[in-house]
């Protein structure tokens, strides 16, 4: 998680980024999964698929994966590395780390509120 730790704490742009992520629409899921996977280090397409399957129990189909990779790359949130054996790894950029951090923070706030209300009103811890 070294890349994520490079984010600027208390950045004034955080709410804006979180709002932008909320508007990510149907690409929010794959993009978040890819960024979260790349936060652990560079990976190529197949390694991304397997890693995401292992930690999220979601298998990204090839077309969906590369559609999201192309968009993330175009936005400067990930970058390609040198290709090896017909496989090109991608790594997170610092902008991508910030965007992921802001998005996960927003998701955590929602999760915290939801869990607190469940515990208070439904007795579900």
């Amino acid at each position: 998680m070294a890349a994520v730790s490079r984010t600027r704490p208390g950045s004034g742009h955080q709410p804006e980024r979180a709002a932008a992520l909320a508007g990510f629409g149907r690409y929010a899921g794959p993009a978040t999964l890819i960024l979260a996977s790349l936060a652990d280090g560079p990976k190529h397409g197949y390694a991304l698929t397997k890693d995401i399957e292992s930690f999220a129990d979601v298998r990204l189909a090839p077309g969906t994966l590369y559609e999201a990779l192309a968009r993330l790359q175009a936005q400067g949130l990930i970058e390609p590395l040198e290709s090896h054996d017909r496989r090109r790894p991608y790594r997170l950029t610092s902008a991508g780390a910030q965007a992921l951090r802001a998005h996960l923070d927003a998701q955590r706030r929602v999760a915290d509120v939801g869990l607190r209300r469940l515990a208070g009103n439904w007795g579900v811890a």
């Binding site: 980024r17 508007g23 629409g25 090839p62 175009a74």
Partner: protein
């Protein structure tokens, strides 16, 4: 055939759904991923459907009609080129209907207020289209001419030749067949029209291919051979004009100021299309069954209105994406930072606006 070879072959087949530029960038690594996936799951309709959908999205993105995977200026040019195609398709059907109404008006005024208002609205929109086309063409032609003058016509020769050839065929053929039928305004007593008779005649002749006679082969067979040949050949000329114009827009090195100007025109063009379509729909609703001569609306007009609606939707999407690309980073969540993040370009943008793509679509 050994399993790995079969997987590679199937991966190659699936890869063909993607456009050439995408394949040259991602093809090798994507094929490798597909081979691994096929090896794990030899049969998967979901994978095939996903790849097909991804290929279509990639083609739409390359045409500037969705997503923001192109560099800002490329995005603007691609979107403007696609917008030109959408407007041309819209006008292909629109002009056919409009010329029918204006030719009808040469003989007698419309018999209902709704058709009268609709025809006037469509004519006003056509005038706006003509002015917008002129305003849009001048900077593009200037850019093309200055490149040719500087001795750098590479890439522009083919679109210029295609455009000029198509336009010449349309002009000559349109004039020839427009003058060949008295009902198109050439008749001496046809002087009561809303627009000049020659304009109506030319519009009618250049869109002669948009005809319900295609569904009636027996009637079609009674047409003069030259007219039949024109009905079959003129769509090709229109395609040459559209293709040439779109290619020229994509390849011309338009300055940011010109791109900004063109995108403003594109917004105005969408508004004119909406007005035209509204008039067209009003006429179709008003001009249903019954002997109303040329003011009668038939099934082909309904089909044309459907095509025009789809073309308007495409044009609006292209205009919106072109506008977002021209405004540049920071003005749009959908394309923010696109120009900073190309392969081999600058990498991390510390402190930059790290939004994920796609925001603009949902926020509107």
């Amino acid at each position: 055939m050994r399993p790995p070879e079969a997987a590679a072959r199937r991966a190659g087949t699936l890869l063909r759904w993607y456009p050439k530029a995408w394949r040259s960038r991602y093809g090798e690594e994507f094929a490798e991923l597909l081979i691994c996936d096929i090896s794990e799951r030899p049969r998967s309709w979901a994978r095939t459907a996903d790849v097909v959908r991804g290929g279509i999205v990639a083609r739409l993105a390359a045409a500037g009609l969705c997503g923001c995977t192109l560099e800002a200026r490329d995005q603007a040019r691609a979107s403007l080129g696609s917008l030109a195609c959408c407007v041309a398709i819209f006008l292909g059907f629109g002009v056919a209907m409009w010329s029918q109404l204006t030719i009808g008006w040469q003989w007698s005024e419309p018999d209902t207020a709704a058709t009268t208002v609709a025809t006037v609205a469509m004519s006003a929109a056509m005038l706006v289209f003509a002015l917008l086309a002129l305003a849009a063409a001048v900077p593009v032609l200037w850019s093309v001419a200055s490149r040719v003058a500087r001795g750098r016509p590479r890439g522009l020769l083919a679109p210029s030749v295609l455009f000029l050839a198509g336009a010449a065929v349309l002009f000559v053929g349109g004039r020839h067949f427009g003058n060949g039928w008295p009902g198109t305004g050439g008749h001496p007593w046809a002087r009561q029209g809303l627009v000049p008779g020659g304009v109506a005649a030319f519009s009618w002749a250049s869109t002669l291919a948009v005809s319900s006679y295609w569904a009636h082969p027996a009637a079609l067979a009674a047409f003069p051979p030259a007219e039949l040949a024109w009905m079959m050949g003129s769509p090709l000329a229109v395609a040459l004009v559209i293709g040439g114009a779109a290619m020229a827009v994509r390849r011309a090195e338009l300055s940011p100021r010109v791109l900004d100007f063109e995108t403003r025109l594109s917004t105005a063009a969408c508004a004119a299309m909406a007005v035209f379509l509204a008039g067209c729909c009003a006429w179709i609703v008003d001009g249903g069954p019954g002997p109303r001569n040329l003011f009668h609306a038939g099934a082909i007009d309904v089909a044309g209105a459907v095509v025009m609606t789809i073309a308007l939707a495409g044009a609006r999407q292209a205009a919106r994406l072109a506008r977002q690309a021209v405004r540049g980073p920071g003005s749009s969540d959908a394309c923010r930072g696109g120009s900073h993040a190309r392969p081999g370009g600058s990498h991390a943008r510390p402190g930059g606006t790290g939004s994920l793509p796609g925001g603009g679509d949902e926020e509107r």
